[in-house]
Subunit: 122 residues, 2 copies
């Protein structure tokens, strides 16, 4: 088996930190809507706290990057990717800082993001 | 600030999954003994379960790879790296499968590894 396969086998319950990029994200109906670019981890606890995710970009259009809280992702062992109930409506109203790709969030920004996605969309 | 810095600032409590490689590992006396190659994460919980770490190799000698349980690492916010009480004696007796670099561990191997490092060295 090639090294890449052994470190990112879709059916394995574990994944290596350097093989996370490209993991699929699905909407509530099971449609593929994005892919994880990176996970961000708390250095002390070793817990993932959010995912930087590229949404869209599958029909020739460009993708857009949004940071979403880990709590909004549920791993689906059949689809080998993450389900989310986040909608296009959420993303349109997401805080501006969560559209940046180039920096780690502050504690205040993390709280703001959790609160934003915890609210149901009208 | 360059993108690399913003995603791996040493003093920030978070780190991006694609910036983990090279994080330092120190022994009980504070001497640098290795560097993390990758963390391995549970897909469902988002919890880091072990670290694939290169030990040695700082004085021109080659480094050797060992998988060590997350419980054996403590983040040190002053040193910007992980402390471990694992010794050269441990590594010499470590299970053979934990010296492989190319595969994810099974549940049985994880348990065996946790048990091995939980025992104090004679």
């Amino acid at each position: 088996m090639a090294e890449t396969d052994a470190l990112s086998a879709p059916s394995h319950p574990l994944i290596a930190s350097d093989r996370i990029e490209g993991t699929a994200v699905f909407d509530a109906s099971g449609k593929r809507i994005g892919a994880i670019k990176r996970l961000v981890i708390e250095k002390i606890s070793g817990q993932v706290v959010y995912a930087v995710t590229a949404f869209g970009g599958f029909m020739g259009a460009g993708s857009e990057t949004y940071t979403i809280p880990w709590e909004q992702l549920r791993y689906d062992t059949k689809l080998h990717g993450y389900h989310t109930t986040i909608t296009a409506g959420h993303l349109r109203q997401a805080p501006e800082f969560s559209r940046r790709d180039e920096a780690l969030l502050s504690g205040h920004e993390r709280q703001q993001l959790n609160d934003f996605y915890a609210e149901p969309m009208p």
